[in-house]
Each structure stands twice: as structure tokens, then as C-alpha cells.
């Protein structure tokens, strides 16, 4: 591999990692802070992608506006979902959470099948992001992928700021450590959870919307991303946004370079990584020791 190719592969790794982070950050909020094992998180990603498919023709080239509209819709949806289902799950054991959220996956998949069918759909890249630019002498890199990376960086920075620098973030972090203490301080934990959950859904849906024009929109797209997300959350340390970011980038590199150098092992690369990290740090990269 010459140096130019190596650089492009690094760029690929970062771009893939950042997109994964966007999905996983929502999961780490929900899983890490509220303690709910949410298997339906991949479905939120799928719902986002289908939302892009439905909204893109309405918004045309107003792509950013579409993302905003989609995020608002997803957040409202998440808020209602928390009110209707998830709020009953916090006090239950993990088996019940797994059963309930697995049931939700089936419901979402069936609804998708009824509403839009099982066909594969494409979403057009907005005209102002269409095309690609030459990268070294290796390949032309699509503008849209660069945009996706930039959008993810902005969101990651925003999330970092909210979690580490704001009062809301302080409550979230405190809730992750000790929810009884937070309740004791007179904070409306119920509402806090509802907001966090809605944000988690919105982040996953946003990732789906951003991914849609790059990839395509198809049934079961949530399932594969879900497994990677759980791996990310475990590697990064449950409840840590910074950990999720580190883990996402790590997995981006392992997956990208694994595919190129060890094609036959590419399927297990990220699980090997997880095993190594857990042997070295059982609580994950940025996890707190219990």
C-alpha cells in the first residue's frame, strides 16, 4: 500500500467511525444513563433512513432543512415512545427489557413493510453536494462523504459541549452515576429521562438520514448497525460519550484496514478488538470502575 492509498484509507476509517459514533452516542445515552438495553436502537437508524427517503422529494436541495425537520420529528417520536413504552421499563430486569425492545423491532419492521414495502430505495444526494474531488492520484472522493464527516464532527463537538459543559449535561452525567442521588436532589428524573431518550432517538435517526444518500434504504438495515453499536458501547465504556467516540474511531480503523489486509478475518475483527479491550480494561476504555 503506497502512502497516498494509506491516507485515503485513513480518511475512510475516520468517516466510517464518525457515522458509527452518531448512532452509538444515542445508544450510550439510553443504555448507559437509563440502564435500558434497547435492542430497538437500530430501528431508529432505519426509521431515519426511511424518513430521508420520504422527505427528500419534499425538500429538494434544502438538505439541511430536511435534516432539521427529520430530527424534530424523530425527537417527538422518541418522546412519545418513551412515554408509551420505555418509561415502564426502567425498574424491570434486563430480560424483560430485551423482550420488549425486541418486540418493538418486529413491530417497526412490520410497519415499514406495510407502509413502504420491502423494496430497496435510493435517496438523491443534493445537487450542491453531488460530485467528487480528486484525492492524491488514487481516487476521487465524494463531496457528500466529506460533508457527512463534517456534520458528524460538529454533532460530536456539540454533544461533548452539552454533556460536559451544561447544567443538563451535569444532570445526565450525575444520573448515569447515581440516579437515586439525582432524584434526591429534587431533579425531575422522569422528564430528564424523557428528554435524553428523545435525544437518543433523534441522534440515531439523524445518522440514518445522513447515511441514506450514501448508501441506500433497505429492510433490516437497522439490525447490522445495532450489533456494531453494542460493541462500540462496550468498548468505549457504558455511559461515556467520549468513550463511544474513541471506540467508534478505533472500530472504523480496524474495520477498514482489516477488510484490506485480512479479508478472511474482517468479520471477526471488531469482536477481536472488543475482546482485547475487555481483557485490558474490563470496564471499557472510558468506563467507570463499578
Amino acid at each position: 500500500m503506497d502512502f497516498g492509498t494509506f491516507l485515503v484509507q485513513c480518511l475512510n476509517s475516520v468517516q466510517y467511525g464518525l457515522l458509527l459514533f452518531l448512532v452509538a452516542s444515542g445508544l450510550t445515552l439510553i443504555f448507559g444513563i437509563m440502564g435500558v438495553i434497547n435492542l430497538a436502537h437500530g430501528s431508529f437508524y432505519m426509521i431515519g433512513a426511511y424518513m430521508a427517503f420520504a422527505l427528500a422529494p419534499l425538500f429538494g436541495d434544502q438538505f439541511l432543512l430536511m435534516l432539521v425537520a427529520g430530527v424534530v420529528l424523530a425527537a417527538v417520536f422518541g418522546y412519545l415512545l418513551e412515554w408509551a413504552f420505555f418509561s415502564y421499563l426502567y425498574q424491570r430486569d434486563h430480560l424483560q427489557q430485551v423482550l420488549m425492545t425486541y418486540g418493538l423491532i418486529l413491530v417497526f419492521e412490520e410497519l415499514r413493510s406495510i407502509l413502504v414495502g420491502n423494496d430497496v430505495h435510493g435517496v438523491k444526494v443534493p445537487a450542491w453536494l453531488d460530485g467528487s474531488f480528486a484525492l492524491g492520484n488514487v481516487m476521487s472522493y465524494p463531496w457528500y462523504r466529506l460533508f457527512a464527516s463534517a456534520a458528524c464532527i460538529v454533532l460530536a463537538a456539540g454533544l461533548y459541549w452539552v454533556v460536559n459543559r451544561t447544567r443538563l449535561g451535569m444532570m445526565i452525567r450525575a444520573g448515569a452515576s447515581n440516579r437515586d442521588m439525582v432524584r434526591g436532589l429534587g431533579i425531575d428524573v422522569k422528564r430528564l429521562y424523557r428528554i435524553v431518550f428523545a435525544a437518543g432517538v433523534a441522534l440515531a435517526a439523524l445518522a440514518g438520514m445522513i447515511a441514506a444518500p450514501m448508501s441506500s434504504v433497505y429492510p433490516n438495515m437497522g439490525a447490522s448497525v445495532l450489533i456494531i453499536c453494542f460493541v462500540l458501547v462496550v468498548i468505549g465504556g457504558i455511559g461515556s460519550i467520549t468513550g463511544a467516540l474513541l471506540a467508534s474511531l478505533l472500530v472504523g480503523f480496524v474495520d477498514t484496514f482489516g477488510k484490506v489486509f485480512f479479508a478472511d478475518l474482517a468479520g471477526i475483527g471488531i469482536y477481536l478488538l472488543m475482546a482485547i479491550v475487555l481483557i485490558w480494561k474490563p470496564e471499557g476504555l472510558m468506563g467507570r470502575r463499578p
Binding site: 467528487s132 462523504r145 433490516n220 474482517a266
Partner: protein, 390 residues
């Protein structure tokens, strides 16, 4: 009446009853078990196959060789883990005479195994796994579709001979169908003087192709052969275009790379060459008549899957005609299909010794939302059926 004559009379009555029962067997309803995907990603394919099958039967007054058809349906869910149980529902519970199924190769393999053990006639209307008419082949197992090797081999020959490509790379998911397809291409390509440098794979159903596209861009081969289907195919073709590779390195594939997904692929797929045993715009009297009849009956445009279902019914009809509707006469039934020329909308085909269609493979080009016929890539291509002992 002596005891002796009474005994004789009783025996005669018993024989008569047996004979009429056997007669009833021959003229009663023929039980056809449809084991197809009716849920999940492949639903549309399963429905097209069923539609095609029923269209042929309806064209013959709801009968094949004078026997009325009774359908038993099982949703295979495209799940190999449930395949054995599902196929046994048809064989043991419903006691069907013939099974038609399925789309997913893993499920079809389990069905072939059950059919081999029970002796029930099986007609595979899609699954392309080479093994079904390879090591798994049996006198009672037939295929009305293709083997993965067939379109792939043809594309290899076209790429080397017609397109004059010397160096190629292949890319696919690391699973049986992918391996069979890229190896078929390699065989056809290298037999005609080309060389496949590198065979890229990624785990199924991973769709993050960017790393491998970068490798292709760096290696600069003359051509790329890809095997993907469904969502993966759409994403691959779009990513390939987004990376600007389609301008310099032509992308080839079997028909599954574009069939049924052209709406989603849009611009990215335009001009792509693929090979398959069916194409849009064949414009033969046979195909036109079929397309009109299908559109009229189901308010849908037919596709390759509908053709394969239609031909599964034709093959069954040929076998039954030879045995006057008695599917129990196994040897005659099999011999009739082996000898037959099936008048398919795709063009007439015969059966190979291993019971796979010996058929024309078409070269097609994507134009708008159609896979337009360019030429016949290989006439009467037969699957090598490696490992079949019959």
C-alpha cells in the same frame, strides 16, 4: 355359494376397490406444495414465482395433464434454520406430490436434502446454489432457474473476448453464492486469456465498501466483476459511481446486481453490462404473450422470477403429461422432463443431465429502468455440475 367362491368374490371386490382407489390417485387433485418467502426481504420474489406458476396452471384451465391442482403454502421466511421443519410440514403433514421452492439458497439446500430422502419431487424456481444440481443432485430434483456459475461464466467470457479486458478484480460478500459467482467469472475470464488479479471479499451483509473501492482505485484493473443483491447491490453500485470509478473501470456483474433495483440505483447504474438468462425487450412472440398475460392477470410487470415460476409449472406439466397425471411413475416422469424442450418466455431450454436448464445467457445493458437485451452472450450454456453423480 361355497366358501371358495365367496372368498374369490371377496378378493375380486378388494382388488376392484384397490384399483378404483389407485384410479382416484391418478385423477384426483394433485397436491402442490409452494414453499416460498411470503415475508421478509424476498416477499416480492416469492409472490412473483407463485404468480408465474399459477398463471401457467390457469392457462390450462386450472389443470396439469387433466389433474386439478390443489395448493399448500408454507412461508419459508428465508430462514435455513427453519427449512427442514417447514419442508417436512409439506412432505409429512400435507403429503404433497410435488414441492416448488425456493429463493434462498440455504433453504433450498435443506429442501433438496429432504426431497432426496423422501423421494418427493422438488422443483427449484430460483435458488442458484451450484450444489443443488451438483453434489446434491437426484432424479427427483429439478431446477427451473439457473446455477450461480452460469451467468458468471458468461460474463467472464464476454469481458475477455468481446470487451478485450486483460486484468480484472472481483468483489463480493464472503458466502457461498458470492464465491460461486466470482469463481464462475474467473473461470470464464481466464479461459479466454484474461487474468483475475485479486478477489476482494467482505463479510455478509456488510455494506461499507469504501475501503475496498480505494483498493480498486489504487490497483487500477481493466474491469471489476461484482456479485451483490438487494440493498447491498444498490449501495455498491452507487458507491462505485460516487468514487468516480465507473468512468475509468467498467463494472460487470450477473443480472442480480441490477434486477429489481434499478429504481434505487438510478443514474449510477446507467450503461452497466450484466448477464442473465432473461432480459427486458427480448421481443419474441413467446415472451410478449407471456408479459401481456401476466400483466393482465396480476396488474404487475413480470420479471425473471415470474418466468422461473411459470417454467416450474411447465416442467411439472411435461412430466405429468408423460405419466397421464400419475406422479408415482417416477422413472417415466423424470425421463419426460429430461427429454423435454421447455417453451419458456426466456427462450426454449432443455435440461442437463443434472437437471439444470441448458439455456441461453443474455448480455444486457442498463438503459433507464430496464435491463435491455444487447446480445446472446452464450447460446445453450450448460452448468458443469461438478460433483453430481446420478
Amino acid at each position: 355359494m361355497t366358501i371358495r367362491t365367496a372368498r374369490l368374490a371377496l378378493t375380486a371386490i378388494a382388488f376392484a376397490a384397490l384399483a378404483s382407489a389407485a384410479g382416484a390417485q391418478g385423477t384426483g387433485k394433485l397436491k402442490v406444495g409452494l414453499m416460498l418467502p411470503y415475508s421478509g426481504t424476498y416477499t416480492a420474489l416469492g409472490v412473483a414465482i407463485e404468480n408465474g406458476f399459477k398463471l401457467y396452471v390457469e392457462e390450462h384451465g386450472g389443470k396439469l395433464a387433466g389433474r386439478e391442482i390443489e395448493y399448500f403454502k408454507v412461508d419459508d421466511e428465508s430462514d435455513p434454520a427453519k427449512a427442514t421443519d417447514n419442508v417436512n410440514k409439506l412432505i409429512k403433514r400435507d403429503n404433497v406430490d410435488v414441492i416448488v421452492g425456493t429463493v434462498h439458497s440455504g433453504v433450498a439446500m435443506a429442501m433438496a436434502k429432504a426431497a432426496k430422502e423422501s423421494g418427493t419431487v422438488l422443483i427449484v424456481p430460483n435458488a442458484g446454489a451450484d450444489a443443488v444440481t451438483g453434489p446434491m443432485c437426484a432424479p427427483n430434483i429439478f431446477r427451473s432457474s439457473f446455477s450461480n456459475w452460469q451467468p458468471a461464466f458468461a460474463m467472464g467470457e464476454v469481458a475477455a473476448k468481446q470487451q478485450g479486458k486483460k486484468k480484472a478484480m472481483t468483489i463480493t460478500w464472503k458466502y457461498a453464492a458470492g464465491d460461486e459467482s466470482v469463481n464462475g467469472f474467473k473461470e470464464g475470464f481466464e479461459k479466454n486469456g484474461g487474468k483475475v488479479d485479486k478477489q476482494l471479499t467482505l463479510p455478509f451483509p456488510n455494506v461499507e465498501f469504501q475501503a475496498l473501492l480505494t483498493e480498486i482505485a489504487a490497483a487500477k484493473p481493466d474491469a471489476v466483476y461484482a456479485f451483490f443483491a438487494g440493498g447491498g447491490a444498490v449501495k455498491f453500485v452507487k458507491d462505485y459511481q460516487a468514487a468516480g470509478l465507473n468512468k475509468t473501470i467498467p463494472l460487470y456483474g450477473p443480472g442480480f446486481l441490477t434486477d429489481g433495483t434499478l429504481d434505487a440505483q438510478g443514474e449510477a447504474a446507467q450503461g452497466m453490462l450484466t448477464t442473465l438468462h432473461y432480459a427486458d425487450g427480448l421481443n419474441t412472440t413467446r415472451d410478449n404473450a407471456f408479459r401481456v398475460a401476466y400483466a393482465k392477470a396480476f396488474k404487475l410487470q413480470p420479471d425473471v422470477y415470474a418466468v422461473q415460476g411459470y417454467d416450474a409449472a411447465q416442467m411439472l406439466g411435461v412430466g405429468l403429461a408423460a405419466t397421464k397425471g400419475d406422479i408415482g411413475k417416477k422413472a417415466e416422469f423424470t425421463a419426460a422432463i429430461e427429454k423435454a424442450k421447455i417453451d419458456s418466455p426466456r427462450g426454449a431450454f432443455t435440461m442437463s443431465k443434472s437437471h439444470n436448464p441448458v439455456q441461453d445467457i443474455y448480455l444486457r445493458k442498463v438503459e433507464g429502468k430496464e435491463n435491455k437485451l444487447v446480445s446472446t452472450a452464450i447460446k445453450g450454456l450448460s452448468d458443469p455440475a461438478r460433483g453430481c453423480r446420478m
